[in-house]
């Protein structure tokens, strides 16, 4: 605590705008006093347990197979979305579609990094082990909603409004598949109990649902 008092004086400045970029090396790091009760309430009608700092820490949970497969599959799934948005820059002439594509590109690229770190942190491979290295896309396991090779080829050939239409319908299909993947994960016994995975899947669900809404709105405009 003494350290904090001194920091406080360091930070007080008489300038009208008090700016400080000091390195705060004095954050209190000591644990709570030993006397602080750590209570684990029982279910309603049941008695409480008192925990010790050691027993309160709980145990680190290993991810389930479904958790790991979800993340591996979603990395591949996101990879296709990034491929699709990469085409936008040259094929779409519609500012709104390009902006939406940029949003999707940023989201999915960030999330791929996040998923890779989640897997690496847990000592898991970034993709499901495969029998043969270098296999082509046609024999890749398809995640729900992923565009077929034929659909991807059609998209890559298209331009202008035709591209926009294929992009929007394709991405809605793609995102809808991601929502299915989240739903499937939580329908699997024991899955999704890692809090980081839970938050991540909630974010995927919310973000992609919102993007589907925006894309449907754009398609609606296109019809008019």
């Amino acid at each position: 605590m003494e350290d904090f008092v001194s920091l406080r004086f360091l930070l007080v400045t008489t300038a009208l705008v008090s700016l400080s970029a000091a390195t705060a090396s004095c954050q209190q790091t000591d644990a709570a006093p030993a006397s602080t009760p750590i209570v684990q309430p029982g279910a309603p009608g049941h008695s409480n347990k008192m925990l010790t700092p050691e027993t309160a820490a709980g145990q680190r949970r290993a991810p389930t197979e479904a958790d790991v497969k979800f993340m591996q599959g979603m990395i591949m799934h996101h990879g296709q979305a990034v491929q699709m948005t990469a085409l936008l820059k040259t094929r779409s002439h519609d500012k709104q579609v390009q902006e939406l594509g940029e949003r999707i590109n940023i989201s999915q690229t960030d999330e791929m990094r996040y998923m890779k770190q989640w897997l690496t942190d847990r000592g898991e491979p970034l993709s499901e082990p495969m029998d043969m290295p270098g296999m082509d896309m046609s024999s890749m396991p398809m995640m729900p909603g992923m565009l077929t090779q034929k659909q991807m080829e059609a998209l890559a050939k298209a331009d202008g409004p035709e591209f926009d239409h294929l992009f929007l319908t394709g991405m809605i299909q793609h995102h809808t598949g991601a929502l299915t993947m989240v739903k499937d994960l939580y329908a699997t016994p024991g899955a999704g109990q890692d809090p980081y995975l839970f938050d991540f899947t909630t974010d995927v669900d919310n973000t992609q649902q919102a993007e589907i809404d925006i894309m449907r709105g754009l398609l609606n405009k296109e019809k008019q």
Binding site: V17, A21, P37, G42, G58, E99, M112, D121
Partner: protein, 673 residues
């Protein structure tokens, strides 16, 4: 093949990189790194309204050193008084973090190399349970966490002290307090009735039922539908209620189970109902199977009119018997009043091939009620909505807005007058870095709406202006009002973007007037952290830092905020504060408040310097002599007259409010005269 179809004239190196990666889908999946996005600065989307500018390279928040407890800091108008790390049961495992920091960088992963599951796990940095939302009751601060709730005594905020740790996992631990009742949201998959930390194991000998046949016409890859998990009688998703009469030994007295759990909840107090309080539950997780909680259905509303989608849940808590709390309504607040379609806010329709219908999992993320004006603002999926809550059990939607720049409507705050609503967009959900120099200023920002006659109109966007690194998760998040009279000021969290204080008195031109920021939680790798909630309570600002613990701040004067204005805010005292149950603030008729108005009128040049000096001199005389000089009344009359010609309506309001205090002769808060 697709790569060949891509025009070779594509000049963008990024496009080329992605085109190449398409030849090697596995490679692409493994290596489409974040650098690609960073290398593609998006053109800022055109905005029909004002967007505050990004700050320049001299912003002291740029380049702060990373670290869990020793990060660099920058502050303006705000001083960190003290910080407390998270206690045992919630705290980071410092040994694990040190091990990760000491470990050599792992070699690039070859995705084609055969690796079995459950291989050697590298050291994994454990930052402990995530700190989440805050609630205040009397001298106590309740700090929600994914693992439970910590109770702090803040009778002397500079000596904040942990008094009880309540261990009870099941994120995200949103908290509210009402007297001796403490409410907690549970949505995660590991929440247990007995507050156990073990989660749920698959029961021994459990054999999943055979999967049903594929749905006809389902697209490739979507045909499989795994068997449902075994229902568990020990699971809780919804709202826990604790009795905290004995602060050292809180008791769980009820669990109100809901179909979609509780991502957040909002305490609602009906001024006409003294016997009950209400809770609005916003749930965004998947719907539980009916085998686990009877009556839960995740079906499309056209199939099942009792679906748990497209609704919020209203819980009634009888104060005499809170253990009998139960769900009393699931209002269909998204329904189209004309067609009766429960998905009434959806204007898209079906678009043929590839857009086959999916159940839009509509719900709210958070709702802020402002009972004093009978309204609530809901941040709900793709919409910001306005609810009439004059009958709190039956909220009625009166307006809804959408915005193509908004990915995820997250939360809302009213200004005190109820004429402005500040919504936040949690683009990326909070786990992603969305304040980089390449991220547009109106994405992941606040959207500020004017509210008039029950209608919301977009006035501006505001985003914490200092660019943050790739390592810092950052986006608009929770904040609360700083009750400076005469101004609309909010202190707001931006995760690892720190704290930003925004003045949105002019809803069309919000401006930052203070901030606090630290470097990343880890300077070398992404680690989740930053401010979840930052709320003003009785003269201090409390921050819930996800990884680091609780921060206590106080305001310090700057050219944007005077000591008189800070003192006037500190005249406001809450007995309890649940920020999403927004209190109406009234200020005493004191000279402290009068001086704040005078400073504001001087700052905006609405009063001539001579008039400012005369007012201050008259007040100083009144304070010194404990009298009520006659000239105050004359000054008040002049102010009321000048208000008629004030250029800005905020100044006219200040002049009238100041005049009112002078007419009453002021009542010094300290002397009571």
């Amino acid at each position: 093949m697709i790569a060949r179809l891509t025009s070779p004239s594509s000049r963008s190196a990024v496009t080329l990189a992605f085109a190449l990666s398409m030849c090697f889908p596995a490679l692409c999946a493994a290596q489409g790194g974040p650098s690609a996005a960073a290398a593609t600065p998006p053109a800022p989307p055109p905005s029909p309204v004002y967007v505050n500018p990004r700050s320049g390279p001299d912003d002291p928040r740029i380049g702060l050193k990373g670290g869990l407890y020793d990060a660099g800091e920058a502050a303006s108008g705000l001083e960190r008084v003290v910080s407390l790390p998270k206690p045992p049961g919630f705290a980071p495992d410092l040994a694990s973090i040190a091990a990760v920091d000491a470990a050599p960088a792992p070699p690039p992963v070859d995705p084609n190399a055969p690796r079995a599951r459950g291989g050697p796990q590298g050291p994994r940095a454990d930052y402990g349970g995530t700190n989440s939302d805050l609630a205040f009751g009397g001298k106590y601060l309740f700090s929600g966490n994914y693992n439970g709730i910590n109770f702090y005594d803040i009778s002397d905020p500079a000596k904040i002290k942990l008094v009880t740790s309540l261990v009870c996992p099941g994120g995200q631990g949103d908290v509210s307090v009402y007297g001796h009742l403490l409410f907690m949201s549970v949505e995660a998959a590991n929440g247990r009735l007995d507050c156990g930390t073990q989660g749920f194991a698959i029961p021994a000998g459990y054999v999943p039922p055979a999967p049903p046949p594929a749905e006809p016409g389902a697209p490739a890859g979507a045909a499989r539908r795994p068997p449902p998990p075994p229902p568990s009688p020990d699971r809780v998703k919804g709202v826990r209620i604790f009795d905290i009469t004995d602060i050292a030994n809180p008791k769980q007295i009820a669990d109100v189970q809901t179909c979609r759990g509780s991502h957040t909840h909002t305490l609602v107090i009906d001024p006409k109902d003294k016997d009950n309080v209400y809770i609005y539950v916003s749930g965004s997780a998947g719907v539980r199977p009916s085998e686990e909680l009877a009556g839960c259905s995740g079906a499309d509303p056209t199939v099942d009119p009792d679906t748990a989608l497209f609704t919020i849940v209203v819980i009634k808590v009888p104060l005499a018997h809170p253990e009998l709390a139960k769900i009393v309504n699931s209002p269909r607040i998204f329904t189209d009043p004309v067609t009766g379609n429960m998905n009434g806010l959806w204007k898209g329709g079906n678009h043929g091939e590839g857009t086959q219908t999916t159940s839009m999992t509509r719900g709210c993320h958070d709702i802020t009620v402002y009972s004093a004006i009978g309204l609530a603002a809901g941040a709900c999926s793709g919409n910001g909505i306005l609810l009439d809550i004059s009958d709190p059990v039956n909220p009625k939607r009166i307006d809804a807005v959408s915005d193509p720049n908004y990915a995820f409507w997250h939360s809302a705050n009213f200004n005190n007058a109820g004429t402005t609503v500040l919504f936040t967009d949690e683009w990326g959900g909070g786990g992603q870095p969305r304040c980089r120099a390449t991220d547009p200023m109106n994405w992941g920002a606040d959207a500020i709406f004017k509210l008039k006659g029950g209608k919301l109109t977009l006035a501006s966007y505001y985003k914490m202006p200092a660019p943050q690194t790739e390592l810092e998760n950052c986006v608009a998040h929770n904040g609360s009002m700083i009750p400076v009279p005469g101004r609309d000021i909010e202190v707001q969290s931006w995760y690892q973007g720190g704290v930003s204080i925004v003045d949105y008195t002019d809803a069309s031109h919000p401006v930052e007037i203070g901030y606090f920021d630290r470097g990343p939680v880890d300077g070398t790798r992404h680690a989740m952290g930053g401010q979840w909630s930052t709320y003003w309570y009785n003269g201090y600002i409390y921050g819930s830092e996800i990884a680091r613990g609780i921060d206590v701040f106080k305001l310090v004067p700057s050219k944007y905020l005077t000591q008189n204005e800070i003192d006037a805010a500190n005249e406001v005292h809450f007995g309890e504060l649940n920020v999403q149950n927004q209190p109406k603030v009234t200020w005493p008729s004191s000279f402290v408040v009068a001086k704040a108005y005078i400073d504001q009128l001087a700052r905006s040049n609405a009063l001539a310097p001579g008039q400012v000096s005369a007012l201050n001199a008259a007040i100083a005389k009144a304070e010194a002599t404990h009298s009520k000089p006659k000239e105050l009344k004359a000054m008040a009359a002049k102010l009321d007259k000048d208000a008629n010609t004030a250029k800005v309506s905020a100044d006219a309001d200040r002049m009238h409010a100041l005049a009112e205090i002078l007419k009453q002769g002021g009542t010094d808060a300290k002397t009571g005269l």
